[in-house]
Subunit: 441 residues, 2 copies
């Protein structure tokens, strides 16, 4: 039950009354366990991103995740995990072990666990065949077997892969088996599994809103908004989710009507904004790239990048979004000095006197790339990402970024870490946030 | 016991004899379970990196990790996890829940589980006090309590934090509790816990080797190498680890001497190679980027990229490695047609007649970028990454890649998916593998 138009006072009054009334009806929480299957996880050879993804989506849906398990590719281990999960959880989400190869046995074990035979699913077979032919590949026996599914399960369509998901129900509990390939399972979870679970169980309404900040530490942020946080109503929880110099604030509201929760949380965010306005770079599903994209499009501006140490990552970030061609025109990755001179027209004298990693070079790169692509804005990066190339006066982690527009060009020096990839990513984050701040000046 | 120089026939004979002899001495494998404690993990609010780190270190030490669990911050959940682990594992490594705040109860629950009282550890107290004063912070009651440890545990020194680790032993099984802060636990595991475990248990030797392939499906691969796989000796196991169109084959050998295992697995890989030579892009810790870097450096060649749909990702991948400047000179990301004409000199006529996404445009981009950067090789991408921009004759996922060197230029058409980011990444993978194949022609 959602409303696009603002709620009337009467609506507010009625929903509030309903909410207060319903609060007295006890609601049984729904418990979930996630199980990731694969020796490669237990041996630490691949990172299990699926379990965290499922946790986040279940949490957003109002399901309480009470345990996460990873088990090996053996029948005994998988059976034990299923039994243990069935004993404590209403929902069991399983990933991994669905490949066509010998070491993938999840499907067999599930059929045994649910005492089920197998059937050939014509829709899955058609989908797999179509996937293969559209990619110009020939079907083989192993691939056909992907279409064999336990008779006691409902197929969960795998839109982007060949291994079908399997939905089992027993004694009011739901078991869903999905592939180990993250982008396949993520699509299944969000598009099919979570909506079906919401229908199957009567889940409370949970509303999550995100306020994403950069340029302030978690503890500094906590101090700044302490009084606001303490004044939050009991049914709205706050969580700090920090990562790579950015912090996501998540407000979680629990109630019966999304309309009320949304307006309540919106009101709290309105109180929060003035406290940390300059640090907020995005809301909800938006990321820095979306914010910059929206600002550029709304201001009718275009951008180009001249990259040395970031090696194209800034351009890649700006082009990761659909419709990037409206504001992103291109980039010159000038890794060597020759390229800086030939393609960007950086003065050889500048490189001789100040070096490639210098304020002057960064500025010339930003100005030049703006001219080359005829954009409103040109940005540049040049620095020592490491691990080699450091010098006493310019140690590893010394990075210059520059911003040029019709008003001129400015540069900033960053002193980052010893970690090459971290330096490349942090430079990208700092530069994009600087662009954001320039665009809202 | 490892050898750098190749083994002599005599050594082979002797080690083989020893191994065959030792095979008759039953050696019980040592099993481990890792337990991560914290609601923030189950809710997906933080990424549990500790479990994977412990898995990697245990695996390297020859311990078989048989289960990974994450449990919530409740006494019942922690006790259940400990009981379940003690039932199956010889080693139980626990992280999290050691903070000074109310919601951290791991220490209390462990004391109860081992029926232990508490004592104040003077060394820990001195360490914590020193940490605080050196950081200019005042000690408080909560912090002093960090020095309270169960009487039945041995303290594991936390060199970089305040919460001490706790080492319990019961019925020949080891339980170690460590903090949730990754860099604190990582230092404890490598410096103290793993060495102590090696002393406590007599551990077998485990050797892992990787063969990484691209350009063939997991099922196609399985069919191709089926006979070789079936003929593997019992103490060498094979696993398929697929991701984004690439598959890593992992061979795991279990025995007494690393020297024998390495030569045995090397021999199996030698048999495997001729079956799938054109698909193998790297071994062990190497990735495609390393392979290409090594090929370019050894052949004294340089490369530059002209990117449209990949938006700089190919350049970013080639520059993610240290020392990239030896072979990577730069990239032009020409997103708009104007940039393709102005910066790369693509003929306007080509764009008019064939469009930006065409064999001709891709070829002109590759040739042009090679000339611009004076490199041995120029590669190019142009395509419709989606989700918009598709047309009946050029649907989303239509991508052209081109390769130019002193012998000329060739182009290939890819028909990929509807997913923008997947298309961008797959294009990068296909193109880099094509470069690899050209370099080994």
């Amino acid at each position: 039950m959602t409303f696009r138009q603002p709620l009337t006072t009467l609506q507010h009054f009625l929903y509030r009354t309903i909410d207060n009334f319903i609060k007295y009806i006890p609601m049984k929480p729904i418990y979930a366990e996630t199980i990731a299957i694969g020796d490669e996880i237990l041996y630490g050879q691949i990172t299990d991103t699926n379990s965290q993804f499922m946790s986040v989506e279940l949490d957003k849906a109002g399901v309480k995740v009470i345990r996460r398990t990873a088990a090996g590719d053996t029948k005994a281990a998988i059976l034990a995990a299923l039994q243990a999960a069935e004993a404590v959880a209403d929902i069991v989400l399983i990933t991994g072990g669905l490949g066509p190869t010998k070491d993938d046995i999840t499907k067999k074990v599930l059929a045994e666990y649910f005492e089920s035979g197998f059937r050939l699913d014509e829709e899955v077979l058609a989908h797999v065949t179509n996937l293969f032919t559209s990619r110009g590949r020939a079907m083989n026996e192993l691939t056909k077997q992907q279409a064999l599914v336990p008779t006691k399960c409902a197929v969960v369509h795998n839109a982007v892969g060949t291994a079908p998901g399997m939905w089992f129900e027993r004694n009011g509990k739901i078991f869903v088996s999905m592939p180990g390939v993250p982008h396949e399972t993520e699509k299944m979870v969000t598009d099919i599994v979570i909506p079906r679970l919401k229908n199957f169980f009567s889940l409370p309404t949970i509303v999550h809103r995100y306020v994403k900040v950069v340029g302030i530490t978690e503890s500094g942020l906590a101090e700044t908004i302490e009084q606001w946080e303490d004044a939050l109503p009991a049914h709205i929880r706050l969580a700090y989710l920090p990562s790579k110099g950015q912090v996501r604030l998540r407000l979680t509201g629990l109630g019966q009507t999304a309309a009320i929760l949304n307006t309540e949380i919106e009101a709290e965010i309105a109180k929060l904004k003035p406290l940390i306005l300059q640090y907020i770079y995005a809301y909800d599903q938006d990321e820095m790239e979306n914010t910059i994209a929206n600002l550029l499009v709304s201001q009718g501006k275009t951008i180009a990048t001249a990259e040395s140490c970031t090696g194209g990552l800034v351009a890649h970030s700006l082009t990761a979004l659909a419709g990037a061609s409206r504001y992103f025109l291109g980039s010159v990755v000038a890794y060597g000095n020759a390229a800086k001179i030939d393609l960007l027209g950086v003065q050889p004298a500048t490189l001789d006197e100040h070096g490639a990693v210098s304020e002057q070079t960064a500025k010339e790169m930003a100005v030049a790339v703006r001219q080359k692509f005829h954009t409103s804005i040109g940005i540049a990066t040049t620095g020592i990402a490491g691990p080699d190339g450091g010098r006493p006066d310019k140690p590893v982690g010394t990075i210059w970024i520059a911003y040029a527009d019709e008003q001129g060009v400015t540069a900033k020096k960053l002193q980052l870490t010893q970690d090459r990839l971290l330096n490349i990513n942090m430079t990208k984050n700092f530069l994009l946030n600087w662009v954001r701040l320039k665009l809202i000046e």
